[in-house]
């Protein structure tokens, strides 16, 4: 962890892997490395065409064939969303209220993501959404979606 603490300044933490992120696994590195470039990578099974998320280090859950990484279309339909008006998780960088989405990706799987670049008032169930990587702390990117 690198930290700068100029006199009179609030400490600014640059933790590339804070506690709220999942443990980094070697087999999920392509996913993490693509987020700062604004890309969403999903594991894809060449055999049966199924996609997987979150990343799994096992074989395809449908047919047990090996998987490879593929850039997602970024297109999704909004299944539902919730708004947290209070902060329940110490150390999480996004202030309340923050919004969590459940999406149905064009690739046929469901995914949780954070609302990016829009307000809850802009949302509607079944509305088209598009992927937007969200930098929640310096150098820390998580998957987000915004109304298309």
């Amino acid at each position: 962890m690198a930290m700068t603490n100029e006199p009179g300044d609030r400490p600014v933490e640059h933790d590339p892997h804070p506690d709220y992120l999942p443990p980094r696994k070697p087999w999920a590195e392509p996913y993490w490395e693509a987020l700062p470039d604004g890309k969403l990578l999903l594991q894809h099974c060449e055999q049966c065409n199924a996609f997987a998320y979150p990343p799994v280090d096992e074989r395809c859950s449908v047919c047990k064939s090996p998987t490879s990484w593929r850039e997602a279309s970024g297109q999704a339909r909004l299944w539902s969303w919730i708004v947290f008006h209070h902060e329940f998780f110490a150390g999480y960088p996004l202030p309340a209220p923050y919004t969590v989405l459940m999406l149905e990706l064009a690739e046929g799987i469901r995914m949780l993501a954070t609302l990016a670049g829009a307000e809850p008032a802009d949302l509607a169930c079944d509305a088209p959404m598009e992927f937007l990587s969200r930098e929640v702390a310096p150098g820390v990117f998580i998957p987000g979606f915004a109304p298309a």
Partner: protein, 376 residues
């Protein structure tokens, strides 16, 4: 299947019930160890059916290590043993295992016991595998958040269910008002409900179960040997699981609920219309709607209107969670709801007694759905 239904229908009965006093435990402010809570509940259940601990030859625990409990209670010669990681979705599978064990003579008297204590930690996010970690990066997670997602979606598909959720919370509290054991006995109004803070918008404080200390123990035995007296029979029961990546399901657990309901009602040889009162695992109020639809008490998507019409209140056509449910009596992960069903069917529910209640149905609707019909 016909054979199996015939063998299991009514074969087992709940002959003893023991519940700790949740209000008194809360009032002391002193957390009690889970084993001590379980011990108290077992003692009460044995007193209730006038058995001795030496009569017990089966033990099923939830949130408890069976061997520690057996040692503490000096339980010897146990012939059937099971240890479930939690109550809730495990209640029906446990009752089914107990029923089968009794029906074929593997055991003669089985204790099913659950304890929850602030002195213990419970790791049960209900999100399988790596998915828990991928929820945390969005500062969300667990069934409570997924229930809120499903509530909004249910409103989108079937019409706004907000008023129905409010009425469930108010009805629960109204029932708890007549239950001296309930943790929260003060009535709430619609204004109170709306004034309470959001936990995960669209759900508010009163939509959520509490966290409290307590224990529930049931003693089960063969109906044939306890047909007289206060025994309440297990008429039919079934569970069905469809695990997905996420706790929330796009169909609100409809398919597994339908499967469990079909098997449960076939075993009991009854239909939903024959049930006098219901006990639904209301970890969060939307679960009530999913269970009503899924188990066929309402036409799919009409559970909200059914609730709004007042059917689930104590004086309604299908009284729900008559002891106050998980939002008002106690969060004993379904076991307090089964205990209340037995109390009602015995006609021992005092001021909150539902007149003429002869059949009851317990339901828990999660990725693993289950239901149990009880009758007197």
């Amino acid at each position: 299947m016909a054979d199996r239904n015939h063998v299991l229908r009514g074969a087992a009965s709940v002959i003893g019930v023991g519940s700790t006093d949740y209000a008194a435990l809360r009032a002391t402010g002193q957390p009690v160890a889970p084993l001590e809570l379980a011990s108290r509940a077992i003692r009460l259940a044995l007193e209730d059916c006038q058995l001795d601990i030496s009569d017990i030859d089966g033990l099923m625990t939830m949130n408890l290590l069976w061997d520690e409990l057996a040692l503490r209670e000096s339980m010897q010669d146990l012939r059937v043993i099971a240890e479930y990681s939690a109550g809730g979705r495990w209640v029906v599978p446990a009752l089914l295992q107990a029923t089968e064990s009794l029906a074929v003579g593997s055991a003669d008297a089985i204790v099913v016991v659950l304890a929850l204590s602030q002195l213990a930690s419970y790791a049960d996010s209900a999100a399988p595998g790596a998915n828990t970690a991928f929820e945390a990066m969005h500062a969300t997670g667990g069934p409570g958040a997924h229930s809120a997602l499903m509530a909004r979606r249910y409103s989108h598909e079937f019409g706004d269910c907000g008023a129905a959720l409010r009425e469930i919370a108010i009805s629960n509290r109204s029932n708890a008002n007549l239950n001296s054991r309930a943790v929260y006995q003060n009535r709430i109004t619609a204004d109170d409900y709306h004034a309470a803070r959001y936990i995960a918008d669209p759900l508010r404080l009163f939509d959520y179960c509490m966290v409290n200390d307590g224990a529930v123990a049931l003693v089960l035995s063969r109906t044939a040997e306890h047909s007289a007296g206060r025994a309440v029979s297990i008429g039919g029961l079934a569970a069905s699981a469809r695990q997905g990546t996420h706790y929330s399901a796009p169909d609100f657990y409809f398919r597994q609920s339908q499967d469990a309901a079909a098997e449960m009602f076939a075993m009991a040889d009854l239909t939903a219309a024959d049930i006098d009162l219901i006990q639904i695992y209301d970890n969060y109020t939307p679960s009530v709607l999913f269970a009503l639809d899924g188990f066929g008490f309402t036409e799919r998507g009409s559970a909200g209107r059914f609730v709004e019409e007042g059917n689930i209140t104590r004086s309604g056509s299908l009284p729900l969670n008559t002891s106050g449910g998980h939002t008002s009596e106690a969060y004993m992960q379904g076991m307090n709801l089964v205990a209340e069903a037995v109390t009602q069917l015995r006609g021992e529910a005092g001021e909150r007694q539902v007149a003429g209640a002869a059949t009851a149905c317990f339901m828990c609707v999660t990725p693993l759905a289950g239901g149990c019909v009880l009758w007197r």
